[in-house]
Symmetry: C2
Subunit: 408 residues, 2 copies
């Protein structure tokens, strides 16, 4: 049980944000953000499984697993600080040192995150100037959180925030977050960049476990283009200011916290998929009747990752053969001649396949259903009761345009 509320990273008690146009690579737009908590936070994080890890991923992973409390996160857009060697690692340390000085906190309580072009070095003078500019501008208003969510965008067309409130031990606890996409999105551990803040009091171990479990059904179930980034990072900071009895075991409060966290993560993940580079539609795939959840997940991800299926969604074309084809090469076992398939959207629901072959359906109605901004394909493989959902988007001319010359 939770209530959806307005806001993002500044929704929870004690969290503040700021942003600035530091001129790192973009011109005339904010490209740096700072998240700050008035008191130290327990931090949980999940990071890319790509062997090629960006410097800030290595930095944060070390800080989070090392057990240090976190009090600030410095984020820049435009340059990813990936494939930058020792120099890139030094820049993480210098960023943390600059933030520590400006905020009068410990350097090892500063987390960093970068997104953008791989292989370029950060302009450290502008990063340091950006930090000095942001520190005095920190505010706890919802507006400052929204501004921060805009400053971390790259090819995103919309900023992405979510917040909920849940009552734990009689006290209202808030969880809020922001994230950004929107290319190189195929998280194998977590998504591009997502920052969640909460005023919940919860042990570091359970905070990490709640996050690690939840990303499997949220960020790890979205794909824009099948490319797992070098920078994928989800950070979850908990400062305990809500005053709820500290969660130290898997009790009812833990379950309620996890449920609220799941809302934030799923909402942000869907926002990322629905704002994939160049996309015109959120494409949701539900697999029903699976024997295991793992089987359902493999099938669902295979369909949302298929370029041919994605192009068909863009064309509002009920090309169901491509969906069956993508299920067939997924590696998961099922009987193609048992599959029922449906398309569903705000315009209605239509059965397309029964027992592996097409039923008599109206192409006109199918096109109408597929012309909505959120489209769902539901495949029932009739083997059991497990289910999974994955989220992707269509493949469009604009995806190609954006990526054929991203660096210029």
């Amino acid at each position: 049980m939770y209530e959806v509320i307005q806001g993002g990273v500044t929704a929870a008690k004690g969290f503040m944000a700021a942003s600035t146009a530091a001129g790192i690579k973009y011109k005339n737009r904010p490209d740096m953000a700072m998240i700050y908590s008035t008191v130290p936070c327990r931090a949980a994080g999940t990071f890319t499984t790509n062997l090629v890890k960006a410097a800030p991923v290595k930095w944060d992973k070390n800080q989070v697993t090392g057990g240090a409390d976190a009090q600030a996160v410095i984020v820049n857009a435009g340059i990813a600080n990936a494939c930058t060697g020792k120099e890139g690692m030094d820049y993480c340390a210098r960023t943390a040192a600059a933030a520590a000085e400006s905020l009068d906190i410990k350097a090892d309580s500063v987390l960093v995150a970068s997104t953008g072009v791989i292989g370029m070095q950060l302009p450290m003078d502008r990063i340091e100037a950006g930090i000095r500019a942001m520190a005095p501008e920190l505010k706890g208003s919802l507006e400052s959180g929204t501004k921060a969510s805009k400053a971390i965008m790259t090819t995103d067309t919309k900023h992405k925030e979510a917040a909920v409130q849940v009552v734990l031990g009689g006290m209202p606890v808030t969880i809020g977050g922001m994230c950004k996409g929107s290319g190189m999105i195929h998280p194998n551990m977590c998504t591009m960049l997502s920052f969640i803040t909460t005023d919940a009091a919860i042990s570091k171990e359970l905070l990490q476990e709640a996050l690690s479990e939840d990303i499997k059904d949220t960020y790890n179930m979205i794909s824009v283009d099948g490319d797992t980034s070098t920078n994928d990072t989800v950070l979850l900071l908990a400062n305990g200011l809500a005053g709820n009895p500290e969660i130290t075991e898997k009790n009812e409060d833990y379950k309620a916290f996890c449920e609220a966290l799941n809302y934030i993560n799923e909402t942000l993940a869907k926002k990322m998929a629905g704002d994939g580079e160049g996309c015109t539609a959120l494409f949701e795939v539900k697999i029903k009747g699976a024997q295991t959840k793992e089987q359902a997940k493999i099938l669902a991800k295979s369909v949302i990752t298929s370029s041919l299926t994605k192009a068909a969604v863009f064309g509002h074309d009920a090309n169901w053969g491509r969906i069956l084809c993508a299920m067939g090469y997924s590696g998961a076992d099922f009987d193609p001649e048992q599959v029922d398939l449906y398309f569903e959207s705000a315009a209605g629901k239509l059965q397309i396949i029964k027992d592996g072959v097409a039923v008599e359906y109206s192409e006109e109605q199918a096109t109408k259903i597929l012309s909505q901004q959120e489209v769902t394909a539901i495949a029932d493989i009739k083997m059991g009761t497990a289910e999974a959902v994955a989220w992707g988007c269509d493949l469009t001319f604009d995806y190609v345009k954006i990526n054929a010359d991203y660096r210029s």
Copy 2:
């Protein structure tokens, strides 16, 4: 040692071909082809590993593994005869029966292949009429082979043939083939449709082994869009008319035959990759310095499959970070900080990365190299001596256009 010669499926002794405009789905163009051998052939085949297998794949697999000789292949373009249930299987039998009657051969010596839209039933009356029209038109000329290679095209922009001659036991032996792409190409067993004919005398066991081994380095190393088709089929027919001493063991003749076969398969595979849907360039990726060939293959395939890398090739953009990123998420182990990377084409060769970080290189020269019709990226991971090559193509506006509304 082999000599490249003109021709395709009719280059080898005793092989004839015909084609016709049967009006299956395309209008005003040939869409059916027939390959015929004057004497029965030993047949080898490799087929899609997609769980969803088209009816002709099931038919051919049964015939080829059952051990029956083959004497004719009937191919249609436009409709894939996949996801067509029992009716689709019946149509394979009816196609074979019609060909057997027209050609006065046994029905179990007829192989069938289809390519096109999934889920539609074949118009059997037109298929049967097409067979009756083609049978009297069979010719052994190279021109008839070329016409057949044009009749099986779907979104291909070029027909694809190759032929070689090799001397075995003092006798000239010919191997020729044709194939078609060009979407849903990510063979996991073999490619979309490829038909190889040879007059070599070789045992059925060694014929199958030669094919099964060779596809691992040829068709299985190309990808246009990461979608493994329901119809992938490679057929290799050997009628023994060259008069060479029959190859029954892995001797020098077998090695020479395999080398010549590899030329045909690699040539056809590259033609498919270079004519991928909407593509403007063949993109070749070489991994050097691997510990094992398998490791090199995984890395090479990951790079050619990356949508972001493919879009960068389309944009002539030396976005090397995406190549390292795709290697990083491939699942193969390597040290990102040991990688050297080069781009090479007819316009020259340029080192981009040394030990995982960018060297000072000319973006202008890189763009010039990437603007050619065949572009190679070479990554040296400095762990051993194994190598692998994979072939793909760029991701373009036209790929999206073709696939957003393929069925209409």
